[in-house]
Amino acid sequence: MGWITLISSWLPPLLFGVAGAAICIILMMPGKFIRPNNPNPNKNIPYECASKPTMEAVGQRSVKYFRYAILFVVFDVEVIFLYAWALIAEEIGLIGFIELSFFILVLLLGLAFAWKKRALEWG
């Protein structure tokens, strides 16, 4: 497989992405000529339920989401290896599957550990 095949297979996805960006800009264009523009200091306040905002938006955080991000990275890496196995599963047969089950088992142990330590609990 040379460069020609590579280009011909990856050029359309690239062009699709460019077209997606282009359609956004094209859709934004016509409005420029007809939409109103009435800036107002009251309009510039961050939208909140009719009251004035009391704190900066960025200061508040709930760190719960971060744990899922870490676990996600770990499991995402696991899934990548599964893709590599999936394509040759039939070829390497049962031996390969047993080797893979060991891989998954170790990670399931990790999941069970996180579960036991209540890392998956929300509250």
């Binding site: 297979s9 956004c24 961050p46 899922y68 999936a86 394509l87 893979l100």
Partner: protein, 333 residues
């Protein structure tokens, strides 16, 4: 030059083919998006004993044109305290990555943007960029509700991406190829939802949650977050965030059909591409149906569904499938 020769000529030039295919795909997605908004509103009306849109055009079918005109003519508001560049870039990132993901969807054996080698892995990779776009929107808005909605959306997408990938791996194991075209061609004898019932259920729930539709639309629950991460967007920019959401949903319904319902495989008497479009739109309506049938989950329930139910179930499904494939039970596929 007849039509077939013209098609083959266009197909042989990647640049020309890419441009034409991208244009056709965009037109298709936008018209289906507009139509599905109408269908969704009519359908909602039917389920809630009201009429839905009736004024614009016959049966209100031109409602999305009116919506479009409204969106274009609204004032374009960019929060002055927020991060303006990031705010403006977010919808573009969202839409363009999702459209790029659409380039590997085969509408029929020959109507495919590009049959790339890594196929569905590329699609998952493009899907995985949308949390970044959502974060950009939330951060750029400098609004508590936007940030909270963005965080919820990210947490939800991260929780459901692993079960989604694992159920896709189970299909890939049976086929032995990442190319979506070959996955569809492998469903010659039997559609995969019959062989992968568990994987299908997991996939359906996960794609539903990824697209952020109602039982799982915690990130934009109107009653508490007033719209979620796109609350500061107005006019056409808001329209673009909604377009992104609809493209996500349309791609999800296409994936359901391609992986589990035989793609363009047909019962004859209509060309394959028509069959594919019919099947995807049935899947789309079914995905939208749940919005009016099931109440919204709480965020902790959603995350629990992802990590405590779907993840173990999808691993179990993969192990069973892998064992059967390794023993050669699926060599006939």
């Amino acid at each position: 030059m007849n039509l077939v020769e013209l098609f083959n000529y266009i197909r042989s030039d990647p640049l020309l083919w890419g441009i034409i295919a991208a244009t056709v795909f965009l037109v298709y997605v936008f018209s289906i998006g507009g139509l599905s908004i109408w269908i969704e509103r009519k359908w909602a009306g039917l389920l809630q004993s009201r009429l839905g849109p009736t004024r614009v055009g016959p049966f209100g079918i031109l409602q999305f044109v009116a919506d479009l005109i409204k969106l274009v003519s609204k004032e374009d508001f960019v929060p002055p305290d927020g991060d303006k560049k990031v705010f403006k870039l977010a919808p573009i990132v969202l839409v363009s990555t999702l459209i790029a993901a659409g380039s590997i969807i085969p509408f029929s054996p020959s109507l495919i943007g590009s049959n790339v080698n890594v196929g569905i892995l590329f699609l998952i990779a493009m899907f995985s960029i949308s949390p970044i776009a959502v974060f950009m929107a939330g951060w750029g808005s400098n609004n508590k509700f936007s940030l909270l909605g963005a965080l919820r959306n990210i947490g939800q997408m991260l929780s459901f991406e692993i079960p989604l990938s694992l159920s896709i791996v189970a299909v890939v194991v049976m086929v032995g190829s990442l190319r979506i075209k070959e996955i569809v061609q492998a469903q010659d004898q039997i559609w995969f939802f019959a062989l992968q019932p568990l994987g299908f259920v997991v996939f359906l729930l996960a794609i539903h949650a990824e697209a952020g539709r109602t039982p799982f639309d915690m990130q934009e629950s109107e009653q508490e977050l007033m719209g979620g991460w796109n609350v500061e967007y107005s006019g056409m920019r808001f329209g673009l965030t909604m377009v992104g959401e609809y493209i996500h949903l349309i791609l999800g319904s296409m994936l359901v059909v391609l992986l589990y319902f035989g793609g363009w495989k047909s019962f004859g008497f209509l060309p394959p591409v028509i069959w594919f479009i019919i099947k995807t739109n049935i899947a789309l309506v079914i995905l939208m149906w749940s919005r009016w049938a099931i109440p919204r989950f709480r965020i902790d329930q959603i995350i629990d569904i992802g990590w405590k139910y779907l993840l173990p179930l999808s691993i179990l499904n993969l192990l069973i499938t892998g064992a059967l494939v390794s023993m050669g039970w699926f060599s006939w596929i």
